[in-house]
Amino acid sequence: MTTCSVRARGLAVGYDGAPVLSDISFDIGRGEIVTLIGPNGAGKSTILKSIARQLRLIAGTVEIDGRSLAGLSAQDIARRMAVVLTERARPELMTCRDVVAMGRYPYTGRLGILSREDEAQVAAAMAAVRAQELAERDFNAVSDGQRQRVLLARALCQQPEIIVLDEPTSFLDVRHKLELLGILRRMAREEDITVVMSLHEIDLAQKISDRIICVRGDTVVRCGAPDEVFTEAGIRALYSLEQGSYDPAFGGVELPRIEGAPRVFVLSSCGTGIPVYRRLQRQGMPFAAGVLYENDTDCHLARRLAVEVVTERPFCELSESACARARILMESAARVIDAGVTIGDANRRMLELIETAKALGTYERVTG
């Protein structure tokens, strides 16, 4: 972490003097991307709006570069901090360039007429978000993804040190989400702009953020690096996940496993089982899987979706006990699906299991 960019101490935030969250303190370093996560209605937006001075702080202080927000003039703040909000702006007869140019507000004179320098900044901001071709389009006529990029360009135009974004990826499709976050990443890395935002997509939050602030109940429950925050237990608790599971390795979430006596046994390795597991999951069919090495991606997913997984330590020969357990499961299953097993020296006994299945008459081979 370089210098401290935003420092919040003992914040209480809320509406009309009634605190929704209190006792919030955190530090954000220059050029960091910090993401607020937490359940709907936890108050992520309330915190962001309070930092961005859209809401009056009920208690506590926010400092930018060591200077208290309360002591800065509105113009000084506007030159340091820009926002992208969820509020849907529907300005009449404004081109995207007009909207972006509004970001020059803190720099223009009494009548807001743009100088050459301002025009150059507008063009640069539009180029930074790759929105040049939108310049002359009516702001109300562009798509959601384009709109967010234009609003981001507007924020960039303010030449801020900090950009505050409230759920910038909502309503965007996956391509536009990735594009937008890519731009934010570049801004943070290359321009040293501090990004403070809220995201609903915990998978994306995990991947883009330098630091995560978890908001829940009436305060910030956790604050730390993504690998500290994104643990299965941590996310379960934060979002009160009762069903399904969260996978910290890839940031994915899974629907709850289908419980019951396994009616299908899946033989696979090296990822061939994944599409089969998903299909069985959709069909509501309880299944078991094996014998899988513990470092196999199939094993990773099967542990979340299968009723039972027969596993083996990586790179070891399959043990007799594992094979015996697999046989029992196969015998009680109505179907044995072979999704494709790569056979090597260590797992040669998988061939025996396939033979057993064939003898049972429940064997099916599925490919691709």
């Binding site: 506007a78 702006a89 300005p91 009449e92 007009d98 507000y105 009548l111 310049a135 002359e136």
Partner: protein, 339 residues
């Protein structure tokens, strides 16, 4: 290149508006029940008055009436634009929100109360009364707007306030018996007739000051068009800005109502047409263009009001409605389609 094209467009619109104002002004001064040659007219204007009936008609009747129609038309249109910016809705205007009717009521009350004691009411007193009435109605609308989040319901509320105030005004006028008050009837329906130079002076002073103030607010207005939150984040003092907008628009519409009575549709139709012609809503250009547009529109409507069925004069609102209402309807249909 597009910026240049846009600049050419601005220049063309302003040139057209100024030319139209010239033509309408010339017609207004030249056309009437008494025909007067252009030469005589010029003479009267250059001499600033003169002897004879014709000079009197030009200098005492037609000229002040023309100037008043232009000034008040501009004021009305500008007031509409300010209210539209304030409410973020192009259908807002001093007439539909009941502000004009509120001013009408207080002006009527003032006239009746004061005329019982003295013969004339000063122009400033009339404007002050109208301003008080406007603010009263605006205050009420703002109170309602906290509860009524939907612009449509707010507009309906405004129209209802307008009806209540109009009913109250009619009631007051009906039971007033003095002969001077009978003149109120004509005024309460809207008219530019019977303007004195003294009134023109007062209206010009108020309108010029408001126009300048509005023009100086064009920068925060532009930011406000993006929404309150963005404007605040850009450093606009929202409370002060909103207060200024409301005071200015009320003052402008009060000034109009005090002198010419309530005039409908100008405040919505003109800014809309002007924005379409300019293809922008940038306040820096829309403010002066709306003012000019309103001046042309009202002067032209007044010409029609006074000449179409001469010697009978139409109410000015009759004419502005005929031309303004279809514009408003077209605008609403268009907005519906854009959704």
């Amino acid at each position: 290149m597009r910026e240049n094209r846009q600049r050419v467009r601005y220049a063309a619109v302003f040139a057209a508006l100024i030319a139209a104002l010239g033509v309408v002004a010339a017609l207004n001064v030249g056309v009437g029940s008494v025909s007067i040659s252009a030469r005589e007219i010029l003479g009267v204007i250059l001499r600033r008055g003169g002897e004879g009936v014709q000079a009197g008609i030009i200098w005492q009747i037609r000229l002040p009436r023309l100037i008043m129609a232009a000034i008040l038309g501009g004021a009305l249109s500008l007031s509409g634009f300010l209210l539209q910016t304030f409410f973020g809705n192009p259908i807002a205007g001093p007439f539909v929100l009941g502000i004009s009717s509120g001013a009408k009521l207080t002006v009527a009350l003032t006239m009746i109360l004061v005329l019982e004691r003295v013969r004339v009411v000063s122009s400033w007193a009339l404007v002050a009364a109208a301003f008080a009435g406007s603010l009263l109605c605006v205050g009420f609308i703002l109170l309602l707007s906290r509860r009524l989040r939907h612009m449509a319901t707010l507009l309906v509320a405004g129209i209802m306030i307008g009806y209540i105030c109009s009913a109250a005004t009619d009631f007051v006028i009906t039971f007033a018996s003095e002969s001077d008050i009978v003149n109120l009837r004509g005024w309460s329906l809207g008219s530019f007739s019977g303007m004195s130079w003294e009134r023109v002076g007062v209206a010009a002073a108020i309108t010029a000051a408001s126009l300048l103030a509005a023009f100086l607010l064009s920068k925060p207005m532009g930011a406000y068009q993006l929404g309150e939150a963005y404007a605040r984040s850009l450093g606009v003092n929202i409370r002060a800005f909103r207060t200024a907008l409301i005071l200015l628009s009320s003052l402008l519409s009060a000034c109009v109502t005090a002198f010419a009575g309530p005039i409908s549709f100008v405040g919505i139709a003109v800014p809309h047409l002007v924005k379409r012609c300019l293809n922008t809503s940038r306040p820096l250009v829309v403010i002066p263009a709306s003012f000019l547009g309103g001046a042309v529109f009202c002067a032209a409507c007044d010409l029609i009001a006074r000449t179409a069925f001469a010697p009978t004069e139409l109410n000015i609102s009759t004419v502005t409605s005929v031309f303004g209402a279809p514009v408003v309807i077209a605008m609403m249909l268009r907005r519906q389609k854009e959704r």
